[in-house]
């Protein structure tokens, strides 16, 4: 991959039709003569737009990414509105999912599909996702689990962003001994499968308070912040991939002319790194962090499933599945709903990541459908014919 999307795009633009408002018609004429499908309408599309706008437009055009955005927003809103966040209470009637209730509808979900979906009329009922073996509300649990997953995802990505970018930037920019030391550190972390290191760190978080006999209030505080702690711990493992990518970007960018000119102008190292090189690596960073976020959802649930991640009193989707997998035959809904939401969250974030990758990659082109290409080639033929007619 070329390392600088903005410059390449600008160069393409220049090559295809020059910059400036007066050349728009000229550009489109050149573009039409390009022939079937080859960059149809590509040049007008980016004419005079900022890099951010170009990326945004490409992102919005990616239907998968749009689906991801809508889904993840809907899920986050649903969970925030029903269960609230922190001290703010949500609107759902059951705010403490650990409370047992008397079974209703034989503990089965009271959520019914509307008639046109083959159900018996839409109804939410008291326990839309059913109840577990001791009568706790599955809906409230799942919603809290979603919040945990989202928290882990966000905190983890911030940690990864900080460590990965710093390590990558330092070793790529300074090279030499710093690079050597930092890369050996990266090698060390990469050696073990993520889930193994994650399990050890997760275990550490659960064991430490009792082992060192901390006071109950500290323990309570730590328990409440469990998702954040786990996210930080996982972030300490997962930064390596980003660090390697940022390093390789820095290695090639630091040889470019604009860095030389900044240095000649007297800019400090810090300024060169943050103001000149880093903005050019944003694409790589954003794409990778977003794909990492999707992986982190699955990782967190997997650790909680094994019992090395989130544990009581915090709730995680993986923990719900592991608690209820023995009850699969009698209460399958306890298994379906958490799993469904894990898949939905991970899938949406994956799609967003894919959309971002396409948006930042200068090589992706909008591929016109066959009909569009035919129409375009007809138009080209016609304009060529009319030009011939005019020249006669």
């Amino acid at each position: 991959m070329t390392n600088n999307p903005n410059l390449d795009d600008l160069e393409n633009q220049r090559a295809q039709g020059g910059l400036g408002a007066g050349t728009v018609s000229e550009t489109s004429a050149i573009d039409e003569s390009h022939g079937r499908g080859e960059g149809v309408g590509e040049a007008q599309e980016v004419q005079g737009l900022s890099q951010g706008t170009i990326v945004f437009r490409r992102f919005v055009r990616h239907s998968g990414a749009l689906f991801g955005m809508v889904t993840i927003t809907a899920i986050a809103l649903l969970s925030l509105i029903t269960m609230g966040i922190g001290p703010i209470h949500g609107l759902w009637w059951e705010q403490d999912p650990q409370n047992p209730h008397t079974p209703e509808n034989g503990s089965a979900p009271t959520l019914h599909m509307p008639k046109w979906l083959g159900g018996e009329g839409f109804a939410i009922g008291k326990f839309p996702f059913g109840q577990d073996t001791i009568g706790r509300d599955n809906f409230a649990n799942v919603m809290l689990g979603i919040q945990t997953s989202l928290t882990v995802m966000i905190v983890l990505s911030i940690v990864v962003l900080l460590i990965g970018t710093t390590v990558g930037a330092l070793s790529g920019y300074y090279r030499g001994r710093i690079d050597n030391v930092l890369m050996r550190l990266t090698d060390l972390v990469i050696t073990l499968p993520v889930i193994v290191l994650g399990a050890v760190l997760g275990r550490l978080i659960t064991v430490l308070p009792t082992k060192w006999g901390w006071s109950d209030s500290t323990k309570g505080l730590l328990d409440r912040w469990m998702p954040v702690e786990l996210a930080i711990a996982l972030g300490l493992i997962l930064w390596t991939g980003l660090a390697r990518l940022v390093r390789s970007e820095f290695l090639s960018l630091r040889e470019r002319e604009f860095v030389d000119s900044a240095r000649v102008a007297g800019a400090s190292d810090f300024r060169i790194i943050t103001k000149h090189i880093l903005p050019n690596t944003m694409g790589v960073i954003i794409v990778n962090v977003s794909l990492l976020m999707a992986a982190s959802v699955v990782l967190e649930t997997a650790l909680s499933f094994l019992g090395f991640g989130i544990s009581y009193p915090a709730v995680s989707l993986g923990q719900l599945i592991s608690q209820n997998q023995t009850a699969f035959d009698t209460r399958p809904w306890l298994f379906w709903w958490p799993g469904l939401f894990i898949v939905l969250i991970a899938l949406s974030v994956n799609f967003i990541g894919d959309g971002l990758r396409d948006a930042f990659d200068p090589r992706t082109k909008k591929v016109p459908s066959k009909r569009q290409m035919d129409r375009q080639s007809n138009r080209t033929l016609k304009s060529q014919a009319s030009q011939k007619g005019a020249s006669k």
């Binding site: 193994v196 499933f305 599945i321």
Partner: protein, 506 residues
């Protein structure tokens, strides 16, 4: 080269030492061997605590424990899982074998299927087929492996077992499967609308017929290829291999492949007697496989011609396919006995083998394979998606290169452009992605082993960590770390071998 190897090995050993030191430190913080005693209500609680402290040397500082651990490991004593009083040396060989079996099977399958689908998807870029494959691979990529594994246990295994009690034709299932297969083939083979429709119709009828034969006759309970099936497989393999790697116009290659197929059918009849008269094992079968491949090479050589290598490769590939088919057929012949021995529920959901099950090579192999089915599906489903995405990208990258355009413009047939010029180069990056992926798979096996009750390394690690047993966890860390380093070294070497632009000594 040797200097490079020596340097890398030395670094690896150093890294492993640092890793062990840091992990030991981390584990000594993260583990609490006294946790069950702390909340115990026994009268002699303090005595129990004291005796455990003495037994595990908890009164030593952790670095002293680490030093003693290192010395013991260097002497070949891997310590003890103290809760069960088992020596790690005793558990380890079985655990390693189990895990490697599982991960190896899954990696090979995922690689084969994933790469094939990825390449086809790249060749049909921006078609509905491509979008469908991309979507499916995204869904698979987002599936949590533990969830899938439980689903497989609950639906696939129990469903298949229930079905096998009284096999009958399930029309909806058969039609849906046939439709999916027809859509796949129509999309994968591509072409004009007319050709697609023909492919669709042919694939639909063929799949439906095959499914009806499997479901309707008693085939599913007494499966076999028979001489006819083996012959059909052999000829199909001969035609397919020739079409892909030599082109139908290369008559010598075609005849070499067909001759190998005929020889294969002939030796199948002989081998049936051989298997009937003598008991075999993995070693004998491996030798037989080598002989078969040798015969395939020889046939290709004897057909000769200016392009001997192509014929020889074709013959060897056909021989390989035939050998696998014969092996499968022999397993199938033994299947009814196995079915009876297991009381009619042949897909197990737990463990690596049926307890107290004995039999000859074929029966125990069947037992091993049926136990492998579910965990392998779970692992393959996840990593398959990664390979599809990766190989699609690599293939597209190569197809956009100038030398592909040159190859096309000098009039090479499309088959040669794709197989010789594009595919070979698109496969190269796999050399650097497969070894690390193997390590990730070992990590993924931690989950699969737990769910399917396999006594593998992952299970050893999980139980060790849960029970605060340092020794098994440390050995797991050392083995995985060592494997990772070997894998990375292998990736570099392989890449240097495949890509002449990369020099190892530099």
């Amino acid at each position: 080269m040797i200097r490079f190897l020596a340097r890398r090995l030395l670094t690896a050993i150093g890294l492993l030492l640092v890793l062990s030191f840091m992990m030991y430190a981390l584990l000594s913080i993260a583990m609490d061997p006294l946790d069950d005693l702390r909340i115990s209500t026994a009268l002699n609680k303090q005595d129990l605590i004291n005796s455990r402290i003495r037994a595990l040397h908890l009164d030593w500082p952790w670095y002293r424990r680490y030093a003693s651990w290192v010395i013991h490991v260097l002497q070949g004593d891997f310590g003890m899982a103290w809760r069960t009083q088992q020596h790690v040396n005793d558990i380890l060989p079985g655990a390693v074998k189990t895990s490697v079996q599982l991960v190896f099977a899954a990696t090979v399958l995922a690689l084969l299927i994933g790469v094939t689908v990825g390449v086809i998807s790249a060749l049909r870029q921006y078609t509905t087929f491509d979008y469908a494959i991309t979507f499916v691979s995204f869904v698979l990529y987002s599936l949590p492996v533990f969830w899938v594994a439980v689903l497989l246990k609950q639906f696939l295994a129990i469903g298949v077992n229930d079905y096998l009690v009284k096999p009958h034709i399930m029309w909806p299932l058969a039609i849906v499967l046939a439709l999916v297969s027809a859509l796949f083939w129509a999309g994968a083979l591509g072409g004009e609308t007319r050709r697609k429709l023909i492919t669709f119709a042919v694939a639909f009828v063929a799949s439906l017929a095959a499914l009806l034969v499997v479901m309707g006759t008693n085939w599913i309970n007494e499966p076999q290829f028979g001489p006819l099936g083996i012959a059909v497989i052999g000829i199909a393999a001969a035609l397919g291999v020739t079409a892909l790697f030599a082109g139908m116009h290369n008559r010598r290659a075609l005849y070499a492949a067909l001759t190998t197929a005929v020889v294969g059918v002939g030796s199948y009849l002989g081998l049936r007697w051989f298997f009937f008269l003598y008991s075999v094992n993995d070693g004998i079968l491996f030798v037989l496989l080598l002989i078969a491949i040798g015969v395939g090479l020889l046939i290709g050589f004897l057909w000769g011609g200016p392009d001997r290598g192509v014929s020889m490769r074709g013959g060897a590939l056909v021989a390989l396919v035939m050998s696998v088919a014969v092996w499968l057929d022999q397993l199938m012949w033994n299947y009814p006995d196995y079915f009876k021995a297991l009381g009619g529920r042949p897909i197990p959901t737990m463990g690596t083998s049926t307890p107290n099950f004995t039999g000859d090579y074929w029966l125990t192999s069947l037992d091993r394979i049926t136990h492998l089915v579910l965990p392998t599906i779970a692992l393959v489903m996840i990593s398959f998606a990664g390979y599809v995405r990766y190989e699609r990208g690599a293939m597209l990258e190569v197809l956009g290169q100038d030398y592909i355009r040159t190859a096309r413009s000098k009039g090479l047939p499309e088959r040669v452009v794709i197989v010789r010029h594009a595919l070979r180069n698109a496969l190269m990056p796999l050399a650097s992605i497969v070894p690390p992926d193997f390590i990730a798979m070992i990590g993924g096996a931690v989950l699969t082993e737990t769910i399917f009750g396999w006594r593998g390394m992952g299970r050893m690690f999980i139980e060790g960590l849960r029970g605060s047993e340092v020794d098994p966890v440390m050995i797991y860390v050392m083995i995985t770390g060592g494997l990772a380093m070997v894998a990375n070294l292998l990736a570099d070497l392989l890449y240097a071998l495949l890509d002449p632009r990369i020099r190892v000594n530099a």
